[in-house]
Symmetry: C2
Subunit: 243 residues, 2 copies
DNA sequence: CGCAACCGCGTACAACGTACCCAGTGGAGG
DNA sequence: CCTCCACTGGGTACGTTGTACGCGGTTGCG
């Protein structure tokens, strides 16, 4: 009960004031964990593996991080920091949201394992908070805060949906050690079977028609994003023609 | 390699044809696992615990389910089945999408642990497929399939964002055995500190203004949903005024 | 100069998913 | 009818995980 306020990782100071100089750091540990997760999937980033990566003993990590769950929170927030939102809001909301969406997509493609670490409870690390500040600022002048939240949720839904699909079809095979051929044998045959059965016309349409081969992934993403931003524009009173 | 096609859980038959009558079933096991997850969180649904719930030995489950990961896929798809989409598309797309959103939200509130089991690779179980068929059918007459996908992703983003926030503030304390008071001490004090610091005006605005106490959760959700459907309406050519 | 507070970390343990093996069983072939 | 064997449920055991605990050494403050 004495350090009840330290239950939250973001309130707990990295190190106590007294004592010898520490050999490692939270940032260093987080970095090593992300490196492993990028290369072998997030489940490969075990405490022992991370410790080995930085040349430490497994239990040494617990001098810096209370638990593995908390370390994953640190990793996720570190990734949020890769989304560059400097200079937002710039005044051009469409440019701001486009840049944000592009940055987010690029980050997810660099670290596809982030798709599997969402927690039911939100975390609010410093990078996440900065993102909220900048992003909510973009439309703050146009709509009340609750509508702003709804619009950002819509935007996030589009970006996340697109990138998830992209990750799974481009092949995030690292997860659970699946090789590309194994994944094709597994998912490809199943999808073929569904399509051939004729019972799932919409699913078939998605699989066969939604991917336009003459457009690059980037272009397809940008095109869909344009439609989403049109939707948002329609919801901004200052930009709506009639009414 | 002989049963390479059985790598996918949805292609693997539940039981071989020959032999004695089985004592349990996939459905029964899935149901028991969901019951435990509802009561104690998804991490409490271990193989031994599930087996005990139905009065079986731990290893017996593996006669029905290849792995725990696959069992979680079964659980997730079973939950998709709780979203009632019979009669869709009805012709009234706004009513259809409203019902879908309500059903989804209700399901998530019944089983909040679903927020933590998203996989990077999609699963496409029978209930999920049915959902895709009905839901994509709603706007199929109005927009091409890729725009339809984008619009549904936006809708999903709004619903998921709302419900996630609702879950965490209404208190999904079961996860990792947090009690309500522990969660308040952890998150409440942290949020208070962020607000009092004055460094996060947007975050503060969200926390203090976005929740309107005179409206019920249902009403707030419905209100925001209305705005999202307005956005979608603006994207449907047949419903657009100008152009 | 002492000494308490810190360090890194080796050992140990409980809990997990699950491979392997066993004795029992009931439906198909004779 | 009997025989057989593919199947059953499940006990035991193994490797891996997160992490509690305690050790001997180090360091900066009084």
């Amino acid at each position: 009960m004495a350090d009840a306020e330290y239950v939250n990782i973001w309130m707990r100071p990295e190190r106590p004031a007294r004592g010898p100089k520490p050999a490692y750091s939270r940032a260093q540990i987080t970095e090593a964990a992300i490196r492993i997760a990028d290369a072998e999937g997030v489940e490969a980033a075990t405490m022992r593996r991370i410790a080995a990566e930085i040349g430490a003993g497994a239990m040494s990590l617990y001098r810096y991080v209370p638990s593995r769950d908390n370390l994953v929170e640190l990793m996720a927030d570190r990734l949020m920091g890769e989304i560059d939102v400097t200079g937002m809001p710039s005044g051009d909301w469409r440019a701001d949201l486009t840049r944000y969406a592009d940055e987010w997509r690029a980050m997810w493609l660099r670290h596809p394992w982030i798709a599997g670490v969402q927690r039911s409870l939100p975390s609010f690390g410093p990078n996440q908070l900065l993102l909220i500040e900048r992003l909510m600022g973009v439309l703050d002048a146009f709509v009340p805060i609750d509508e702003n939240l709804g619009l950002m949720a819509m935007l996030n839904g589009y970006v996340e949906g697109s990138v998830r699909e992209e990750i799974s079809s481009a092949g995030e095979f690292r997860r659970s050690g699946l090789s590309e051929s194994e994944w094709m044998a597994r998912s490809g045959a199943y999808i073929d079977q569904l399509v051939k059965s004729g019972d799932y016309p919409m699913f078939t349409k998605i699989v066969t028609e939604a991917r336009q081969p003459h457009l690059s992934r980037d272009e397809q993403f940008r095109h869909g994003l344009g439609r989403v931003l049109d939707c948002i524009a329609a919801a901004l009173p200052a930009h709506r023609e009639g009414l």
